[in-house]
Subunit: 314 residues, 2 copies
């Protein structure tokens, strides 16, 4: 067993930070670490929190952490910003607000940005979550700023996903557009003291009627005012209700099995990608690619040749 | 040569529509069609237009089409919505506004949505653009609603990309967040009669100072009021200036060569993906995946086994 894994299982906080850096940096020992951690994972409840920028996610998550700590649950947080590398600073700024929990050993917070990793941010997030899971955190919160496909991919890791909306922000249409409706297991109407809360509530209900009319689980809508610490308990209850639903319906095992299958595909594809790219970088291909640029050979033919070279039984 | 290709090269509009449907549906004859079309491509000027929903892209594009037609240039438009399948209707609604050009043989408009294709929307868009290129359109506009990674991937096809912004919409921060700053070759400040235009202009300039201070091309910022048909000519001039810059600097050939290389990688990966997924569906793997679910075997080990089975020389 990798020494880092021994240390993580023994509760060494710095080893956890190191292992997540391995994941981000694609460290040569990363796979070994993740393999050794794997048997110790699968126990945490994985909670996803998403919503557009400014919806008050960070402040909500901050309050949720406090609530869970009062219930003596340990919490891991992976905060993901799948946008420009230039925004690294912004989200780290947000995290500063979480310094309340900095000295609490029961909380582990990690921000992740795009490091332009070929393996992808969704994969790195999944692996960071796995480290925290093996570390023994009861609840792992995956928080992402999000409206695009990358965020949906990231949220795909969670057992239960909440979408945070705000009255008056035009959020419903946006959420609908981004396909977030399809991934929401519950809705949080934050800043519920603002005008337009009831209108937003009706809009979300209407969209649920449209999209989820025959689904076995209808996402509840919970109102919160996180700056006043209101509604946090109702949100947690809703998460637990969804957790029971997942367990009883067999949906949880089905989701997790499908995530693991996707993960195997991703790992293989990542390795294959490296092989292809290095083949194409080979000098033999420089001339061929020039012919493609001159339209003398087409990309499909080159791809076919590469496949023949790479794959067995082709 | 595929009969569809003969018909496209002869200017048959319906054959063009059919070929794009082949692309979207992953028709068995798609590759043959694209291979036969390939030698006839690479001539069109590929223009990307992106920006957040409501920025007035459709109305701008509508006016740009009119302008180009008055200059006797033929135009192809691929309008892409990389979001939920549920929004298909919305963007099609937008397209209705383009009916001005419906009877004009010099204009070909096609909307593309997520059909959940494994090949991905970016790839389908690229292939649709290629069909229009071979069809002989002088300018091909790739229009996308966008702030996320998928939109950036789509815009990667274009020679020159414009980002449409609006005063007072908080757009700059958003554009910055989404990494759009990095892909913009020019900025269009639409609705430039609204308050806040000068402020937005300064903000964009400041961000360009930050991001592009040492870049050989500094994206110009052009003000438009597309509903009044104002500024459209300046935008087109800016596109042409960028086009000359690309040609003279050798950047155009470099970009296109790199796009073709990426395309080869994508085609190979797509085929490999299908092979992996079908392998995992094999009964032999059902039992193995259950072991993974029970944490008895880890995903990395299974991935390694799959790679060994698939790849030569492993």
């Amino acid at each position: 067993m990798h020494t880092l894994v021994k240390r993580i299982l023994a509760g060494d906080r710095r080893a956890v930070a190191r292992a997540i850096s391995y994941v981000e940096d694609n460290h040569p020992e990363k796979t070994q670490v993740l393999q050794d951690l794997f048997p110790h994972t699968g126990k945490a409840f994985l909670v996803g929190i998403t919503g557009s920028p400014g919806a008050g996610k960070s402040s909500f998550v901050d309050k949720l952490i406090g609530y869970l700590r009062r219930k003596s649950l340990t919490v891991g947080i992976v905060a993901v910003d799948p946008t420009s590398p230039f925004t690294g600073g912004a989200i780290l700024g947000d995290r500063i607000r979480m310094q309340d929990h900095f000295l609490d050993e029961g909380v582990f917070i990690r921000s992740m940005g795009t490091r332009g990793s070929l393996g992808g941010l969704a994969r790195a997030t999944k692996e960071a979550v796995r480290v925290l899971d093996a570390y023994g955190k009861d609840v792992i919160i995956i928080e992402t700023v999000g409206v695009g496909q990358s965020e949906l991919d990231i949220m795909n890791i969670a057992d239960s996903t909440a979408v945070v909306l705000n009255p008056g922000s035009g959020d419903t249409v946006q959420a609908f557009k981004a396909g977030i409706m399809e991934i929401a297991d519950l809705f949080i109407l934050n800043k519920a003291d603002l005008a337009g809360t009831e209108k937003l509530m009706r809009e979300v209900e209407q969209m649920l009627d449209l999209v989820k009319h025959d689904a076995p689980w209808r996402p509840p809508i919970v109102k919160t005012i996180s700056v006043q610490n209101k509604g946090i308990d109702e949100v947690w209850d809703a998460f637990l209700t969804h957790k029971s639903y997942l367990a009883e319906s067999g949906e949880r095992d089905k989701r997790r099995a499908s995530h693991l299958r996707e993960e195997v595909v991703e790992i293989v594809e990542y390795d294959v990608h490296r092989v292809i790219v290095s083949q194409l970088r080979d000098e033999a291909y420089a001339g061929v690619m020039e012919k493609v640029s001159r339209r003398e050979v087409d990309p499909y033919e080159i791809a076919g040749q590469l496949l023949q070279q790479l794959l067995k039984g082709k």
